[in-house]
């Protein structure tokens, strides 16, 4: 059974349809890259899957681990194991990173009927995962993303992902704007978390990321639909030829 299966997904925002019948299947153990020009619907797909209320789904079906994803609240989707690394992580003044992640971890554990982590175990876990994305202890006591640099925000997303160990992680342009050091740290974190039981959907604008996170499949999203799917070599071709090449060849594909 597929971990994620999307069939004919149509979604709009404020009455404008962005996704025009999208199909995608992701199995455990796989990494899928979704590439596409600006405005093609990449971030909309991420938002719809995570349950952002601004979007309205008008048609189609999404199953996540055998359950109807679209029927769930955003928090239940997260508790079922879906994680979105935000393109623009939100600043939350007055809530410390540590308190935020502790609340998050324990809310998810509660949903799954597991005892909450006590303070000691939590600290231990936090230290271990913080190393993964090379973040310092002081970072954890700061307010969530407040005053963080772009790179720090993205590392924080990957840190949270490491803490929550989702079944499916959607990385929404996590690489955009990162310098090469931050990119190495972020992708290194992802690679260490890859295993046969989880999967990643990596949304990106740039082929560069895929040198670090090597995908099993590359999908090209144009105008709200996946128009081409291939292996990692497709990303290279896109980088060379640009998206116009795909658009020009849609009819033949």
């Amino acid at each position: 059974m597929a971990l994620l299966s999307i069939e004919n997904l149509k979604a709009n925002i404020n009455g404008t349809e962005i996704l025009h019948g999208l199909n995608l299947t992701v199995n455990a153990g796989e990494v899928h890259a979704i590439m596409g020009p600006n405005g093609s619907g990449k971030s909309t797909l991420a938002s719809v899957l995570a349950g952002k209320e601004d979007y309205e789904v008008t048609e189609g079906k999404v199953e996540f681990d055998g359950k109807d994803l679209l029927d769930m609240s955003p928090e239940d989707r997260a508790r079922e194991g879906l994680f979105l690394a935000f393109q623009y992580p939100v600043e939350i003044p007055g809530v410390s990173n540590a308190n935020f992640i502790k609340t998050s971890v324990n809310e998810i554990r509660k949903y799954r009927g597991i005892e909450p982590l006590d303070a000691m175990d939590f600290l231990q876990l936090m230290r271990e995962k913080a190393k993964l994305v090379e973040i310092e202890q002081s970072f954890l006591s700061r307010s969530v993303n407040e005053g963080f640099s772009g790179g720090e925000k993205k590392r924080n997303e990957i840190f949270q992902m490491a803490m929550l160990e989702p079944k499916l992680a959607i990385l929404d342009e996590t690489d955009s704007g990162l310098d090469i050091d931050a990119l190495r740290i972020v992708s290194g974190g992802v690679n260490k978390l890859r295993n046969p039981n989880n999967a990643f959907v990596v949304i990106t604008h740039y082929q560069r990321l895929l040198n670090y996170i090597v995908p099993d499949f590359v999908h090209v999203l144009v105008d709200g639909k996946i128009v081409k799917t291939g292996g990692k070599e497709l990303a290279l071709k896109l980088e060379e030829q640009g998206y116009d090449w795909v658009k020009d060849h849609i009819d033949e594909l």
């Binding site: 952002k52 209320e53 955003p74 997260a78 979105l84 007055g94 935020f100 809310e107 949270q160």
Partner: protein, 442 residues
Amino acid sequence: MENTTIKYDFKEYVKSQFEKLQSTLNGSVGSELNLLRKNAFDKFFLSGLPTLKSENWKYTNLAFLNKLSFTDSYSNVDLSKLETSKLFYNSLKSHKIYLINGKLDENLSSNFNSVNGLKIEYFENISINGVGDYANYYGKLTSMSEHPFANINTALADNLLVVNISPGVIIEDILQIININISNEGALLTNPRILVISGKSSSAKIVENNYTLGDFPVVRNLVKEFYLEENAHLNYYKIQDDSNNSHLFDFTHAEQKRDSHLDEAAISINGKFVRNDLRSTLDGENIESHYYGIFIVGANDFVDNHTFVDHAKPNSYSNENYRGVAFDKGTGVFNGKIMVRRDAQKTNAYQSNKNVLLSDSATINTKPELEIYADDVKCSHGATSGSIDKTSMFYLRQRGIEKKVAERLLLFAFVNEVVNEIKIEQLRELIDLRIEEKLLNI
């Protein structure tokens, strides 16, 4: 024992109390203090209770005062059932002063002889006995006579608590003033009166707590006069976390001399009705006034903060930061006036009031008022009222956090930014516990 429950309107009730007091005075009727009292009463009685038509009371409905049946005998209070250990903020490490229905309780209060440079003085039957050396301070701030409830207090207050911090003294320990009101047999009006004198270059931290005990509604009409002499530092934190039948009028006026520094906070967590009038006269250079406030108001409750910062001289600084959360049918009001007089060049005056509304039936009224007559000043004000930020909510929920929990987390952080300005760690912790509890009801 008297046992009369009176049911006229509030104004008549005040009159009856005033006349009753006057009838006990005999030869002291003409004392200076009693003249002050009479003037205050006349002023109140002439104009009566303010209505929604008067500018300073347009959001403050006082109709409840005419619905309460006030008891006439509140001196006989049974204290045997009072367990001070059960008062929530009593665990705060502090020297304690207990005012029970406005009267000092010496048995409960700490012994202050041991605190060097701190004089706690208490005057009873002040119409007859006067207020000693404090006559130069008592009721001398003109704003008093312009305010209806300050006038009621001056007309009826018969006891005075003085906290006098000697010049040059730094009081390390925290002083806690505990206002307890108990009525055994009907609604109660009390008029506690507090005078704080911060001597030159002194420093002190005072925490005020308000508790209404018993089953009957209480109207606590509290008046405080602060005098901060040159270079004095005073931190005064009032905690308004009272029972559901408490009604509080708090009138505080601080007169500040040069180089003095006031930190005032109003932490309104629970209570049926709160009206705070806070004002500072910045009568010198290099003065700082910081006003902080939070309120979390639900049910049918009401919290109103009226502030007035009066910059009279150059080179001073004032800053106001108030944050409110209104839910259910709760109402919050903020009215902040900043006056910068012609001489007060190089004034820095800032004001911020941010509010979160959680239901359609909750109300926030916020209004900044700036009157600036000097031309070289920096003033800013900002007021916002809105719902919880949707983007933040989505972010938290995407991390598996239940909607309600996420809301509470964001609200807690929102008000806590102001709580963090309180310079007593243990007090912050106690306040945080109560805020968390209160937010559970949202």
